[in-house]
């Protein structure tokens, strides 16, 4: 029996789902012969669907999303958080720094009264999560890694060391040596440091390692010319929910 896989969309940009599909033909054939994808889009009645593995995309930022997520959790044998918003709250949590009414006004203007919104949070702040496919957007290879691990019955091996490891493996010149700053030293690797490889720096989209040395990272950001506020802003982009910005 092929496991049935469903994708559910919460508050996010759907960029994560798009990424799922960025497979080459061969990979997609293999994927579809290993699992049945029963549902790709937002659906209304989760309970009637028949699925084993639920991929949750987006963060939880509306009251109404909570029961919906809980229902999915009840049905799914395995629940996977897909993408930065789902795994760590991600960019959506930026609004947590504003009072809620204000956030609503900024987003929805005069229609604000029709929406309920709560401080955004990652999926695991609401239900238990079995696996994480991190990143913004998430990396196809990592998604496949998780799926293969599920099929083989082993733990997916997701690194617990910082991006610097992969950045150095790629032979990059550290951005700190080029007048920029970077969250690589506290961010969980697994992306092969793509942002640094392509001339930018790490924003922390994969979340923090298990035991990050935040104090040291803040000291380094300061040493390289950021003010305390700027250093905190840097963490806020993706890692507001992890409360390192306090």
């Amino acid at each position: 029996m092929k496991p049935k896989v469903a994708f559910f969309d919460f508050t996010g940009c759907e960029g994560c789902q798009l990424d799922v599909l960025n497979l080459d033909g061969e990979e997609l054939i293999d994927l579809l012969s290993a699992v049945d994808i029963v549902n790709f889009r937002e659906v209304k009645t989760e309970r009637e669907d028949d699925y084993d593995i639920a991929f949750i995309e987006g963060s939880i930022s509306r009251e109404s999303e909570i029961p919906r997520l809980q229902k999915i959790r009840e049905q799914a044998k395995v629940l996977v958080a897909l993408g930065a918003c789902a795994c760590i709250g991600g960019i959506n949590c930026l609004k947590n720094h504003l009072p809620m009414e204000e956030a609503l006004k900024i987003v929805y203007g005069k229609d604000a009264k029709y929406y309920d919104t709560i401080p955004a949070r990652p999926v695991d702040a609401v239900v238990s999560v079995d696996y994480y496919v991190r990143g913004c957007p998430p990396i196809t290879a990592e998604l496949l890694k998780v799926i293969k691990a599920l099929l083989l019955g082993k733990e997916p091996d997701i690194p617990n060391h910082p991006v610097c490891v992969e950045c150095k493996m790629a032979g990059n010149v550290c951005v700190f040596e080029r007048g920029m700053t970077c969250l690589g030293p506290v961010t969980r690797a697994g992306c092969d440091a793509i942002c640094v490889n392509s001339g930018r720096h790490c924003w922390g989209c994969r979340g923090l390692v298990d035991d990050p040395n935040i104090d040291s990272e803040k000291d380094i950001l300061k040493k390289y010319g950021l003010t305390v506020e700027q250093a905190v802003e840097k963490f806020k982009i993706y890692n507001t929910y992890a409360e390192v910005t306090k």
């Binding site: 994808i37 060391h161 298990d210």
Partner: protein
């Protein structure tokens, strides 16, 4: 025909038109069709390179359209789109030559990229890697003293490099972001020979960040095949300190347990060094004696102004000059000039050790408990930068990567490092270096002591890269060494540990073994009996271990639980704790696994002979112990008394019940056992294992105690044995550590300077007294 014409076929006007606009903007000639029929009409009139086709079309079903296009215009490459993917249509489309299969919604960038790649792919060449043969007995790189110095002009050097480039890949130092990096060199002009230091070292061409060690197939016809890839390559412009680092790697990978992958690349690499005349401000190479070198290169250049001096370091270098270069003898002035530029460079180094490097090992030894390590490591990010940029670091991790079809896969090795948090974590959850301070200290000890003791060379060449890379500014071994200098006066010279040489070419390739019998021991443990497929006996000693592979899942070290005196098969008893062990538990009779080994030293049978033996086994420690107990019982007359003490946590966790029962009745062995907590059915002793020790009377002069159990048990058992006056030499322990390679390369199992997989896992307490991290 236009070189970039694209046909877009989609019934939804919005999709069709936006794709048309995207591709037009990107510079393609685009035509559109809203149905399959229209598309087929169009391709008759006009030629296209690429078709982007929605297979959910009305009228002719998408797949049928694809079929017809394929028949009529086979050269058109098709990219298929759908909102409803299914395995059937994907397979079908693939058969019909569709090059990409996209699920909607589609991102503009992705589509553009795919169209571009599809157009490009026609002209693209396949990359070829040369298969190399490894010689059965790889020679250690021949050390030829520098025989000759010659002079080559800059023009001459350029044409030499250009001529070499026809035969092999050329790698050298290029500039990037105002720094220098090693990379492929396309033209001589890119090559820098006057750089200070490259951000990462050239050793990545000998030990790449990631490489495949094996290919395997899982299933009915399991297969394991070593993968060894190397291409002929010249690395030009390596500084002496990096050449010294390569010499260390040669010692590590080419002497004991020669590593076939490393050797293949090493033998295909030509090392062309260059003297470092503008040292990096962080370098302290002269203190490590690596700022110049007389060995380790094929050729070495010195910039003496107008021309280069070339020193010949090997036969290979001499041949290469003869084939590719024009040279002349140096004048007396030029020889003097070479010395002058080297002296000038030496004067530019700003940093140095405060003591001769020979005093480092002793100095470090005496500072093991220094509070310095704690305070120094406070700001450590465990980011790994220091080890990733280090030319002398070589630790690695090994993992399996299975294809999505779950039928084949590869075993990969990837750089790892002792400063990373999970490096020394084992199955029981214990992390032998869980705090930053002990990891930082371990790395510095490697650099100044352990590697030296093992290989006779320092594990640091003073390049200063780690000091530059460390954002917390704490990685420099020089600063660490100098900081602890005061506390110490030292004298000793390096001592090498000598080991037996056991050359093994298929170092990482397991032998296949068939599972001939499985038996459940407890809820968590099973015993597995294997027979090697080649029909041979394993050839192990009691106390040795094997690396057992479930292909696709990974490899785990497991002690052999049966004695070599029994049958041609061997037994492993395994507790379910994680990936590999779970997978083993799921195997059925007849399944194939991979076996490497036996590894490690095993119990010291010679020292046990004629002695009374007190076996003390806690929990799963009975597994390795059983191989020795069986051995002693099978060779009963060679030993004195045999006393076995066994402790389990509860009656349900007792292993090998039949054997326990047999031993308790046997006159050949005195058997006592206990459980920590009893239950209704349990009639025997209750209490921890140490409570059994006072119950037996032993003669400390002729008793050897063999102790195997969880780490916590050792401390207490040792205490009890010391009360019975047993000398440290008579207490034998088997240790568990995180292991990957089993052959003394990957670094995971290291306790201070010792590799448990090589010198262990069995040690006497006397040996362990010197290993601070051990118990």
């Amino acid at each position: 025909m236009e070189e970039n014409s694209v046909l877009v076929v989609d019934d939804e006007p919005i999709v069709r038109e936006s794709i048309r606009d995207w591709l037009k903007d990107a510079g393609y000639q685009v035509a559109t069709a809203e149905s399959g029929e229209e598309a087929l009409e169009l391709i008759k009139k006009q030629d296209f390179n690429v078709m982007v086709l929605d297979i959910g079309l009305p009228g002719q079903a998408g797949i049928a359209v694809l079929k017809q296009v394929k028949a009529q215009r086979p050269w058109i490459k098709s990219i298929i789109m759908t909102a409803y993917p299914s395995a059937e249509t994907t397979v079908e489309a693939k058969k019909l030559g569709a090059v990409h299969y996209l699920v909607r919604p589609i991102a503009r960038d992705d589509l553009e990229r795919l169209v571009r790649e599809t157009l490009d792919s026609a002209g693209r060449e396949r990359t070829v890697t040369t298969e190399v043969e490894i010689r059965p007995k790889p020679p250690v790189v021949e050390v030829v003293a520098v025989k000759k110095s010659l002079v080559i002009t800059k023009e001459g050097l350029k044409s030499m490099v250009e001529s070499l480039a026809k035969d092999m890949e050329i790698v050298g130092v290029k500039s990037r972001h105002g720094k220098y990096v090693y990379d492929r060199i396309a033209s001589f002009e890119e090559l820098h020979l006057d750089y200070d230091v490259a951000v990462t070292p050239p050793t990545k061409y000998l030990l790449p960040a990631r490489e495949t060690l094996l290919k395997f197939k899982i299933g009915d016809e399991p297969k394991v095949e070593p993968v060894i890839e190397a291409i002929p390559r010249a690395i030009i412009g390596i500084h002496p300190y990096d050449i010294k680092a390569i010499e260390l790697l040669d010692d590590v990978f080419m002497t004991t347990n020669p590593d076939p992958n490393y050797i293949a690349r090493r033998q295909n690499t030509i090392v062309i060094g260059v003297d470092c005349l503008n040292p990096s401000p962080k370098s302290f190479a002269p203190s490590m004696d690596t700022h110049l070198t007389e060995t380790g290169f094929d050729l070495l250049l010195t910039n003496i102004g107008a021309d280069y001096m070339v020193s010949v370091g090997s036969e290979k270098g001499a041949d290469l000059l003869a084939k590719h270069a024009q040279l002349r003898e140096p004048t007396g002035d030029e020889i003097a000039k070479q010395k002058a530029v080297r002296d000038g460079a030496l004067a530019k180094y700003k940093l140095s050790l405060d003591i001769p490097k020979e005093r480092l090992p002793k100095l470090l030894e005496e500072s093991y408990d220094d509070p310095y390590w704690e305070s120094r490591s406070e700001s450590c990010l465990s980011c790994g930068s220091c080890v990733m940029v280090c030319p002398t670091c070589f630790c690695f991790d090994v993992k399996d990567n299975v294809s999505l079809n779950l039928k084949d896969g590869q075993r990969l090795r990837q750089w790892d490092g002792c400063v990373l948090i999970d490096f020394a974590k084992v199955a029981t959850g214990e992390n032998f270096r869980h705090d930053k301070a002990s990891r930082l200290r371990h790395r510095i000890f490697r650099k100044g002591k352990y590697i030296l003791e093992r290989y006779g060379r320092f594990g640091c060449v003073g390049c200063g890269r780690c000091a530059t890379a460390c954002l917390a500014e704490i990685a420099s071994p020089l600063e660490a060494f100098n900081a602890i200098v005061e506390s110490v006066q030292a004298k000793e010279a390096a001592m090498r540990i000598f080991r037996e040489v056991r050359p093994e070419i298929e170092l990482y390739a397991p032998r296949l073994a068939e599972l001939v019998k499985v038996e459940e021991l407890t809820e968590r443990e099973k015993v597995f009996e294997f027979s090697l497929k080649d029909g041979k006996a394993l050839g192990h000693r009691p106390g040795q271990f094997v690396e057992v592979s479930v292909m696709g899942i990974g490899e785990a070290p497991v002690s052999v639980s049966s004695s070599p005196t029994r049958d041609g098969t061997f037994q492993l008893a395994v507790r379910k704790v994680g990936d590999v062990t779970n997978a083993l538990h799921n195997l059925k009779k007849g399944a194939m696994v991979g076996i490497r080994g036996p590894f490690g030293n095993g119990f010291p049978l010679e020292a046990l002979e004629g002695k009374d033996i007190l076996f003390i086994a806690g929990g799963i420690g009975l597994v390795p112990m059983r191989s020795l107990v069986q051995y002693v019982l099978d060779r009963r007359s060679s030993f004195g008394r045999a006393i076995l003490l066994f402790g389990a946590r509860s009656p349900a966790e007792r292993l090998f019940l039949d054997e326990l029962a047999a031993w308790s009745k046997s006159p050949e062995i005195e058997f006592h056992e206990t459980v920590d907590r009893g239950d209704e059915s349990w009639m025997g002793n209750v209490g921890v294992i140490t409570t059994l020790i006072p119950k037996v009377d032993i003669d400390p002069r002729k008793t050897m105690a063999v102790v195997v159990g969880p780490p916590i048990m050792y401390r207490f058992v040792i205490g009890q044995l010391k009360k019975r006056d047993l000398p440290d030499e008579n207490i034998i322990l088997s240790l568990e550590r995180r292991m990957k390679c089993g052959v003394g390369k990957c670094g995971h199992c290291q306790i201070n300077g010792v590799y448990v997989c090589q010198e262990g896992p069995v040690f006497t307490l006397a040996q362990l007294r010197n290993l601070r991290e051990a118990v």
